[in-house]
């Protein structure tokens, strides 16, 4: 229990402390310290859950599914904090933001981590909603941090779209609560996920499916599902780079996590009805659409961060599709994909931050010859993109392979659009990547002080996961699969 409280509430305490710290030098280190503390505590939490099984106390519930996401969230939060400290100092030196902006940045970084960890660990659907909405509120001022016209526009769009989306999700949550009131004896427990899950078969199926439509659209806005994805490329391209890394690596995952939790409830209530896979079909539809549309949009991007945010939409679409497909193999693949995508994508955004720093712009047409100017950054970008495009031996290849196999087993016709989508996305990424990495560097281009630790660690982990998934992790993911899909894979 203590591990859990430390994991979740360290960022909250840090939010308050960092709001008062004026010295920039200290703020960056404190941010890193708090993130590290949360990560270490989350490791202990994971050991605890592995040893004694699901942990339920107060309004928290940590089981095999969310504990791995908690560790992942705390880990990416920590490595992004390592990157963010020197990077934000450089941004501050360029005069893009003032000291007050920095204070806000550090405080809100931790506030965001707090909302993410709270959303993952809570057992209460209402608290889940409050936390996900809180994540929007914490990050919206960070998107407009640079105060340019574009940044303010992006932030406004982000605020309005996610606000609307999340409002629809609340309507869905209210409907679930409404359905629960007729079956659950204790009314106030109608918001508790574990209570609902045990009595899921008694929930009114038509209310649940109506609720799920709202929840899928609502939380789907945050996942970045097409056509509710409009905010995502803007917010990613205009906000500070460490923010893009955590938004892509964490926020999207957490929103998808919420959808999967609700799908488990809906599936339970629909088992005896005439269309037991309704929720899954909805997810497959939205997922496939996002996957294909984002792949096509990749080709049109001229801004490097926008391009990678479309790649995030594409991968989130693929995961949504896989969770919708259901079955142990697809679920296992989706869980693995969540893990490797987060690691790879946050590493890419960190690299992109350095690349944009070297070239002094985010425009793809003006970033040239990275390998010549600074080999480390160039190679990191090349490897990162190779990993995200699904090249072996990186982990994304493994998870995508599993997903394709699962699709071929249960819905063979869908393999075709999936393969096409992967090819389109691959082409889109590499046609832009090639000149950026190889091309001739402009004469005055200078290497910058780059922090390669987070990138290297992430990419090595992804490589490791691609070569051999360590036994404990396989068991871990397998238990989560068992929880979600009802059957074990191994």
């Amino acid at each position: 229990m203590n591990e859990l409280l430390i994991t979740v509430f360290t960022p909250m305490a840090a939010t308050l402390i960092l709001a008062t710290v004026r010295q920039l030098k200290w703020a960056g280190w404190l941010n890193l310290l708090a993130s590290t503390a949360a990560f270490v505590a989350s490791l202990f939490l994971a050991f605890r859950v592995a040893k004694t099984g699901p942990l339920t106390a107060m309004t928290f519930r940590v089981d095999d599914f969310n504990v791995y996401l908690i560790v992942l969230t705390a880990f990416v939060g920590m490595t992004s904090a390592i990157f963010s400290r020197p990077y934000m100092q450089y941004v501050c030196e360029t005069g893009k933001i003032n000291k007050k902006g920095m204070q806000l940045y550090h405080s809100m970084y931790q506030a965001f981590m707090f909302t993410m960890l709270l959303a993952l660990s809570t057992d209460n659907l209402g608290v889940l909603w409050v936390a996900v909405e809180g994540a929007t509120l914490a990050t919206v001022l960070l998107v407009s941090l640079y105060r340019t016209a574009e940044a303010i526009e992006a932030a406004w769009k982000y605020f309005i779209l996610c606000g609307v989306g999340i409002a629809l999700a609340l309507f869905g949550t209210v409907l679930v609560y409404f359905a629960a009131q007729h079956t659950v004896a204790d009314g106030t427990a109608g918001m508790t996920w574990s209570v609902l899950y045990t009595g899921a078969s008694k929930l009114h199926p038509s209310i649940m499916i109506l609720a799920f439509v709202f929840l899928l659209i609502g939380y789907g806005t945050k996942v970045g599902l097409v056509p509710m994805h409009q905010w995502l490329p803007d917010a990613h391209s205009e906000g500070p780079t460490p923010m893009s890394a955590v938004l892509s690596g964490l926020l999207l995952n957490v929103a998808l996590y919420a959808i999967v939790r609700f799908k488990m409830l809906v599936d339970g209530s629909l088992t005896l009805s005439s269309k037991p896979h309704m929720a899954g079909y909805l997810m497959m539809g939205f997922g496939l659409l996002s996957f294909l549309v984002a792949g096509l949009f990749l080709h049109r991007q001229r801004d490097i961060k926008r391009m990678f945010s479309y790649s995030s939409i594409e991968h989130m679409g693929l995961m949504t599709f896989a969770f919708g497909l259901g079955g142990p193999l697809a679920t296992f693949g989706a869980l693995l994909h969540m893990l490797v995508h987060s690691l790879t994508k946050s590493a890419i955004f960190v690299t992109v931050g350095h690349a944009a720093h070297i070239a002094g712009t985010q425009s793809i047409d003006h970033i040239r010859g990275l390998i010549r100017t600074q080999p480390a950054v160039g190679w990191a970008l090349l490897f990162g993109v190779a990993a995200i495009a699904g090249f072996p031996p990186f982990g994304i290849f493994t998870s995508e392979f599993l997903l394709l196999t699962a699709t071929m087993e249960s819905q063979p016709w869908f393999t075709l659009p999936l393969l096409m989508g992967l090819a389109i996305a691959f082409a889109g990424l590499f046609r832009n990547l090639h000149p950026m990495v190889y091309g001739t560097a402009p004469k005055e281009q200078q290497p910058v002080q780059a922090n390669m630790i987070p990138i290297t660690v992430h990419l090595l982990l992804v490589l490791w996961l691609g070569l051999s998934i360590p036994g404990f992790l396989a068991v871990w993911l397998n238990r989560a699969t068992e929880l979600i899909a009802g059957a074990s894979l191994l």
Binding site: N124, W129, W156, V164, F171, F178, M191, F297, R302
Partner: protein
């Protein structure tokens, strides 16, 4: 439904709920900004009244508190904050006519019908009263969304956003006799923070485009920076 069979309190609630829906229509077509803020305050007050009635009929203590919370937040605090910002931004006499008020109203009517259609599956007999209120609150949510689409002025959009929240609150209070208190507090906190942030954004937008017409926020598009 047979109205004679519906208890008195529920009848009052239905009348109030339909007034909430009516206010959504007024909010959409209201030309003057200050008047729109006042209209919004009335909507909040009505929702607080509905909450009080549910509290009386169910006898839950926490619902009285929730009614008080709604009234303070939606009928007093948020309208007051908006009012202050309007004065600071010198928009007291701001008028914004819809481009196609008739079409917008027709769409809103269609949304109401759509909401009723959507809740049709909830057919159990004892739920017939709830079905009405759920449909109305869904319509309020969707019209709030429509307001955000048809209005170009940032403050009017925020009013649409907040009336969406009102619709959600109506759904929670009338269909499920209120969510657990802790959730309600959390939601209220989020709404309040959102309002403060909106206030900051009004100034940031104004600084950047010298107006609050968000249609002019159009730097970002797919084919920019060619």
């Amino acid at each position: 439904m047979n109205l004679e069979l519906v208890p008195m309190l529920q009848q009052i609630m239905l009348v109030l709920a339909s007034m909430v829906l009516l206010i959504s229509f007024i909010l959409m077509d209201q030309v003057r900004l200050v008047a729109a803020i006042h209209t919004f305050a009335w909507q909040g007050a009505l929702i607080a009244a509905i909450t009080t009635i549910v509290a009386i009929s169910e006898g839950h203590m926490h619902l009285y508190f929730s009614a008080l919370l709604t009234f303070t937040l939606k009928a007093l605090l948020i309208p007051w904050m908006l009012h202050r910002q309007v004065r600071k931004l010198e928009l007291d006499h701001e008028k914004e006519a819809l481009e196609h008020p008739v079409i917008a109203s027709m769409i809103a009517v269609a949304l109401v019908i759509f909401s009723y259609w959507l809740v049709l599956p909830i057919v159990q007999q004892e739920l017939i009263f709830t079905r009405n209120v759920v449909a109305i609150s869904l319509a309020v949510v969707l019209i709030g969304f429509l307001i955000m689409v048809v209005r170009k002025q940032a403050i009017a959009q925020v009013l649409g956003f907040m009336s969406m929240e009102n619709g959600l609150f109506l759904a929670a209070v009338s269909a499920t006799s209120g969510m657990p208190l802790i959730i309600e507090l959390g939601v209220a906190f989020d709404v309040l923070v959102a309002m403060v942030l909106f206030g900051i954004f009004f100034f940031q937008i104004r600084e950047s485009i010298e107006s609050l017409d968000v249609d002019r926020l159009n730097h970002l598009s797919e084919s920019e920076k060619e």
